[in-house]
């Protein structure tokens, strides 16, 4: 079965960087795009963007350009989210979520990781 295992909680100082991971198992990793979703404390879900794990091509939502970098390493079936120049309002749970299907327009986040807490203070 599809499983997404995310890395553990992080505590960082403002201005630092963090790189969190999302390891896929139970499926062919480079067959499906992975989405990144942010949830600030007490707030809703924000779609940050996605990475095509086959090509490595990222797509960023407008609010997440510049300091946010998506990458993937198919040799270890893992996608990464790097956040640079961390700010206190980056404090959130970050989820990865695999697309339901391959390549078609309507494919979107279906299988979810457990989330990674990033605390910036």
């Amino acid at each position: 079965q599809v499983h997404l295992e995310q890395s553990g909680s992080e505590v960082k100082k403002p201005g630092a960087s963090v790189k969190i991971s999302c390891k896929g198992s139970g499926y062919i990793f480079n067959g499906y795009s992975l989405n990144w979703v942010r949830q600030a404390p007490g707030q809703g879900l924000e779609w940050m963007g996605r990475i095509d794990t086959n090509t490595g091509n990222p797509t960023y939502a407008q609010a997440f350009t510049g300091r946010f970098v998506f990458s993937s390493d198919t040799s270890v079936n893992t996608a990464f989210l790097e956040i640079n120049s961390l700010q206190p309002d980056d404090t959130a749970v970050y989820y990865c979520a695999r697309d339901r299907c391959k390549g078609a327009t309507g494919c979107h986040a279906f299988y979810w990781g457990q989330g990674t807490v990033v605390n910036v203070s």
């Binding site: 989405n35 779609w47 939502a61 309507g106 986040a109 279906f110 989330g115």
Partner: protein, 110 residues
């Protein structure tokens, strides 16, 4: 910038029916928006309830259904149960590879 709109909260009696809507601040929701609905309990990741407007993944009870009505995506919960007290999010495809979540609807069952 266009935003995805949802009711902030709803209350429903046990066994009752509730409809949660998902619209656009500018424009209409259609099947080409590929509406997805997610359910989130406190401290848990979201769970996919509905995709492509009205398709339920296996394991999702049939009291949950999706549709499009009057230019909005709609999530209907028929026969609400106590465990349905969660936050519900919709996600819409905005074009050019971009998706957007609604702000979420907190459902209270009482």
């Amino acid at each position: 910038q266009t935003v995805v709109t949802q009711e902030p909260s709803f209350s429903v009696s046990p066994g009752g029916t509730v409809t949660v809507t998902c619209g656009l601040s500018s424009g209409s929701v259609s099947i080409n928006s590929y509406p997805n609905w997610y359910q989130q309990s406190p401290g848990q990741p979201p769970r996919t309830l509905i995709y492509n407007t009205n398709t339920r993944p296996s394991g999702v009870p049939d009291r949950f259904s999706g549709s499009i009505l009057e230019n909005k995506a709609v999530l209907t919960i028929a026969g609400a149960q106590a465990e349905d007290e969660c936050v519900y999010y919709c996600a819409l495809y905005m074009g050019s590879g971009i998706w957007m979540f609604g702000g979420g609807t907190k459902l209270t069952v009482l």
